[in-house]
């Protein structure tokens, strides 16, 4: 398998962009219809199962999109292999940590974990 095939990343970048757009539209709809967004409403959303799943998916899509974009920037501007691998490694760890953190928080809300 070739590591640097381009099409998969390109497709994922577009798919995650579409997902983000969808979440953005959902969020906008949430803001525009119904009662004003209070802490209680956010709380209810984040502690409901569909709400929590959507939030985790949103951050997953954001991380994936960010990862492909960051990888592109690194491939463009950083040409030394060690520097490239370290920067990519740091970005990957940060993005992964964000998703895990969000997932754990949501799970805690739903009392799946304590």
């Amino acid at each position: 398998m070739r590591v640097f095939v381009g099409q998969r990343a390109w497709l994922l970048q577009r798919a995650s962009a579409l997902a983000l757009l969808l979440f953005l539209a959902l969020g906008a709809a949430l803001l525009l219809v119904g009662p004003p967004l209070t802490y209680e409403r956010w709380h209810a959303l984040a502690t409901s199962l569909p709400g929590a799943v959507i939030i985790v998916l949103l951050f997953a899509a954001l991380s994936l999109h960010g990862w492909i974009g960051a990888r592109d920037i690194v491939l463009d501007y950083i040409h030394s292999m060690p520097a490239r691998l370290s920067v990519l490694g740091i970005i990957a760890v940060i993005l992964f940590a964000i998703v895990i953190r969000v997932a754990l928080t949501m799970a805690a809300h739903l009392s799946l974990v304590t």
Binding site: G6, Q7, A9, D76
Partner: protein, 231 residues
């Protein structure tokens, strides 16, 4: 007319510098190349390429007031003074406005810019329907002047690995050719983060092409063909 030209002579070892020229326009001076040729008569150390002087050979591509173009079809009346001339950005300079095109043409050769078809040739030519022929329009006209690749930020950052808009436009010209039988191999070769996917659809290429072609649409076409091929 006031013209400021990038000068570099590798033999003197001096740093490149900008040199100012002032020249009276004559009635025959219509295009930038007309003035450059007269300047060359005055100062024969000034170097630039040109051949056809009518936008067909692609040899006098240069950066004119910050924009890549062909001196021979750039009307003097459209230019703000001082007219600043530099070699094609991102290309190694050999002397003055003459750049090294070796890498650019290596990319061109790499996409196999010729018809591949191992079937027994018919007695006369390989025929195409008018619709099949239509698909080559906007692609075959490329004169390989490099205005596009030398205006593409992605090509500036990775000129050794990214094929660049000119090469990719040529690649697409053979991918869509109904007589070519190597479409799958051509697509497989291009499916690579560097060769094709360094393009970020900035569209500088399309914006600057002096022949009015659209490499970025050709690139989009290649991506769609790849999607089609893999689904």
């Amino acid at each position: 007319m006031h013209i400021r030209i990038y000068r570099y002579d590798p033999e003197t070892g001096a740093q490149p510098h900008m040199q100012d020229y002032t020249i009276e326009l004559e009635s025959g001076d219509k295009k930038l190349l007309d003035v450059l040729m007269r300047l060359k008569n005055i100062d024969d150390s000034l170097s630039f390429r040109r051949s056809c002087r009518e936008g067909v050979c692609g040899s006098d591509a240069m950066n004119i007031n910050g924009r890549n173009g062909l001196a021979c079809i750039t009307a003097l009346s459209t230019l703000k003074e001082p007219v600043v001339l530099r070699p094609l950005p991102g290309f190694p300079v050999i002397r003055d406005l003459v750049v090294d095109m070796t890498q650019f043409f290596a990319h061109y050769h790499e996409i196999k810019p010729y018809l591949i078809n191992d079937d027994v040739p018919p007695e006369r030519e390989r025929l195409q329907t008018p619709e099949q022929r239509e698909r080559l329009n906007g692609l075959y006209e490329c004169i390989l002047c490099a205005c596009c690749s030398a205006f593409c930020p992605s090509y500036w950052w990775n000129p050794d690995k990214f094929i660049g808009p000119a090469g990719l436009l040529q690649a697409y010209r053979f991918i869509v050719d109904s007589r070519d039988t190597a479409t799958a191999e051509r697509l497989a070769y291009l499916d690579d983060v560097y060769r094709l996917y360094r393009c970020r659809t900035i569209m500088n290429c399309t914006e600057v092409c002096p022949k009015g072609l659209s490499p970025s649409h050709a690139i989009e076409g290649i991506r769609l063909e790849l999607v089609r091929a893999s689904s």
